[in-house]
Symmetry: C2
């Protein structure tokens, strides 16, 4: 079984875009009404010829599916708007997962705002996980889009970690659109966030406080595996924990889009901490003209990396079922 | 000959620190007076048992030497303070290079401020290069320390590029201290800056305007080589130049502190665009207890990477002499 832990609903139905536009015009569209405006047929069509087709062609089975990352736009300060937007977006991925339970398991967008909106975040996490069977959530370490907030190790984040621990769901640390012209969203901001968060964790005791918390850092961990020696050396010099100690709680996905980078990741990071992911259909589409391999066909890179059967099993599904325990329950229930 | 293109004066004499403290207390210490307070003997001692010893032990010959990167602190807004601080700092590395011309060639700190201080920057660049024989300069893409400024492709930066082209010096793109708690200076900000700047350049026509401009991106290019496929794919999808086209003007140093990361860099980036560097004595000191290799002994990694003689020559000195033409002139004059 091949589980892809990182996919976003980037082929979402047009009414969802209109819902958002209406919000940003100052209207208050209803998430319940939106559900009525989108037919099951429309949702089916939005993924059958896209994510499901690609999943099948590549030999994948199931994708953890969350709303479009750049669309989360947590920098909008109004908590009511954020709550309704997360609800509408999550309802859509929930419907996808209901229509195709063998292919999609839903992961939540949280209604974060620059001020936090903790109440809304906790309510939506509970609603989606307990009420709708979501198996995880995306946590934006920079809801402002300008890094105006505090590091993930600040106590203001702790209630979210407590809730995630209690509910038994991991959090994928994933930013949204950058609101700073120095940072291209897809080519810099995403990777910088991955790098910055790992570094925030390194000198901290966060996982002593929250031993059950599991964080997934996407995009192959940003710059981290490439600079693993830098982190080991900094940690030794400053008396921090070794970066390998973070691997009890921190996992990297495999959204790295060329063979040499991919090989570095899977050679360096223990197989127990690598989760297969493609982020298709995402930022990078099309195929490398030199190899014919689609950039985000990370299963092709994994095959070429020639892992042992044990590593292959861990990376393609064993780790996912362990890190996302509700996924295991969900699959057991649907089989 | 082994040329290390990236070293900072991190063992600077105490009076330089006192100079800075006085500045920040609102006094106006004189750079000329500082020079009188530091004896040649003191300068000699500050590097003989440190950078020169390590250089010799590892088999290196010469280091491009600039003031401490985190000390540049361009976020201080006063242009007069920035000018005096750059002058004092540059005078110190100049004296090091005068005392040990076979071991050090000086690279300038520029008196940038969040507002730019273009006049001061251009004057100090001219003073150091034409007047004192400096072979390059460090350009901070984020003088605010909070990314409050504009990307390096903004026309406000162009006069610096014109001057660098005219003077025949490359610019190493190197940030200073981060002024945002989300970004650890050494473990996140440096790498994020490298990544962000490469991404700023990718969709731009900067090098059509400045074909003679050469930029060196330190720390192995941040996350860039690890995510090279991501940049190729983004470029194809958006109709930008291929990242390889940037390699006419963009170079990466080898300050990557473990063998797997190092191998990725030198396997992936053409040898013509990789400049040997260690950034010693810098952020990461000490040795890997598993291998006994010092983290920043990047010459050991280069040896283990088993390059061809041609690649070895290019990476260890050929590229440096080409990218830093004033270094070649300087060495010819001193031999």
């Amino acid at each position: 079984m091949i589980i892809d832990v990182h996919g976003h609903y980037t082929t979402e139905p047009e009414p969802l875009h209109r819902f958002r536009s209406a919000q940003l015009r100052g209207e208050a569209p209803s998430a319940a009404a939106l559900n009525g405006q989108v037919s099951d047929e429309e949702i089916r069509e939005s993924v059958e010829e896209h994510q499901i087709r690609v999943l099948r062609e590549r030999g994948g089975d199931l994708m953890l599916f969350s709303p479009r990352a750049s669309g989360m736009a947590h920098h909008e300060p109004d908590a009511g708007i954020a709550n309704a937007w997360a609800q509408a977006s999550n309802d859509m991925v929930h419907r996808v997962s209901q229509l195709f339970p063998a292919h999609f398991a839903p992961v939540a967008q949280l209604p974060q705002t620059p001020e936090g909106n903790l109440e809304g975040v906790l309510a939506e996490l509970k609603r989606t996980v307990e009420g709708l069977g979501f198996v995880g959530a995306n946590l934006n370490p920079d809801p402002s889009g300008t890094w105006a907030g505090v590091p993930l190790t600040d106590p203001s984040w702790f209630p979210i970690y407590e809730a995630a621990e209690d509910l038994g769901v991991p959090l994928m640390v994933h930013v949204s659109t950058a609101c700073n012209p120095n940072f291209h969203t897809l080519g810099a901001h995403y990777l910088n966030a991955d790098t910055s968060v790992f570094m925030q964790l390194l000198p901290s005791d966060l996982f002593t406080r929250f031993p059950g918390l599991k964080l997934v850092i996407p995009h192959g961990g940003g710059a981290v595996p490439y600079h693993w020696g830098r982190y080991r050396g900094l940690a030794m010099r400053h008396g921090w924990q070794d970066p390998s100690e973070l691997l009890r709680n921190v996992f990297f996905d495999t959204a790295v889009y060329h063979q040499p980078g991919y090989d570095l990741l899977v050679d360096l990071i223990p197989a127990s901490n690598v989760l297969f992911a493609s982020e298709m259909l995402g930022a990078v589409r099309g195929a490398d003209p030199e190899t014919g391999v689609e950039w985000d066909d990370t299963l092709a890179y994994l095959r070429s990396s020639q892992r042992s059967q044990a590593d292959w099993d861990a990376i393609t599904h064993g780790n996912a079922l362990r890190v996302y325990p509700r996924l295991a329950v969900r699959l057991a229930g649907s089989s």
